[in-house]
């Protein structure tokens, strides 16, 4: 009961602040609401006993990516963007598309026989130590993907530096 109440509160916070992210005129406000959304999503991870992912979410997303966003928002001129219309002309179509997507998925989830038919849950117990289990999976079964991800991060870092660098004449 308490779990369900927590989940509902977290979901409402996540969805409402996500709507605020995309509707605020000022990009700084959007970043602040994005932080609230990310915290709520982290809480949802914690509710599902994904403690390691919760820590990663807080450290990497809230502590890293949003600070990067805030930095760039402050760096570029926001006064011009404040005077322009925030939404593009095609917003009714986009809204319709998304509502349609929600309706289809909602129907699929509601209608068990035709929609999402999850196989029966396996009768094993979840590993008790989440961080330990994730670490073992990362360094045993997913060894090569971890290495590839590190190369990806290196490429992204070099690419970002090169693109943000002033052009050499």
């Amino acid at each position: 009961m308490l779990e369900l109440a927590t989940l509902i509160v977290l979901s409402v916070v996540a969805l409402v602040s996500a709507v605020l992210v995309i509707t605020r005129r000022n990009a700084v406000h959007s970043v602040i609401w994005l932080i609230v959304t990310l915290f709520a999503v982290g809480g949802i991870y914690l509710l599902q006993h994904a403690e390691f992912l919760f820590a990663v979410q807080i450290i990497l997303y809230v502590g890293g990516i949003t600070v990067l966003f805030l930095f760039v928002v402050m760096l570029v001129d926001i006064d011009v963007a404040l005077k322009q219309a925030p939404f593009a002309r095609q917003w009714p179509v986009a809204l319709l598309t998304s509502v349609l997507l929600l309706a289809i998925v909602g129907f699929a989830l509601y209608n068990h026989s035709k929609g999402l038919n999850l196989p029966p849950q396996p009768m094993i117990n979840a590993p008790a130590e989440n961080t330990q289990a994730v670490g073992l999976a990362l360094y045993q079964n997913y060894m090569l993907p971890v290495e590839i991800a590190s190369v990806l991060l290196l490429v992204a870092m070099v690419g970002a530096v090169i693109m943000a660098k002033r052009k050499l004449e």
Binding site: A50, I65, P86, A88
Partner: protein, 100 residues
């Protein structure tokens, strides 16, 4: 015990909000933030199904998605800085160098 369907519907809702943001906003920075929302929606689904199948594979995938999000944010923001330096705008409608 909370049904997994609930989490999937929540993930879809967040995904839909992100899609609306990507399609309607004109500020490139907010489009990037909407992409972060979409990636978070994917992560919610991955974690929910990982919990459903009692396996950590979904959480490992979520970690890779977060890695990807970090790389995407770094490159995207570098692009925005380069664009702003050349065109003095963050408006997606005015960034039309490849249009003819």
């Amino acid at each position: 015990m909370i049904h997994t369907e609930y989490y999937i519907f929540l993930g879809t809702g967040l995904f839909a909000i992100g899609v609306i943001g990507v399609l309607t906003r004109r500020n490139v920075l907010i489009i990037l933030m909407s992409i972060e929302l979409i990636l978070n929606a994917v992560n919610i689904n991955l974690v929910a199904l990982s919990q459903y199948f009692k396996s950590v594979d979904g959480q490992v995938f979520a970690i890779f998605v977060i890695t990807d999000a970090a790389a995407e944010a770094a490159v995207g923001l570098g692009l925005i800085i380069a664009l702003f330096r050349n065109k003095e705008t963050v408006n997606a409608d005015e960034i039309d160098l490849l249009k003819w």
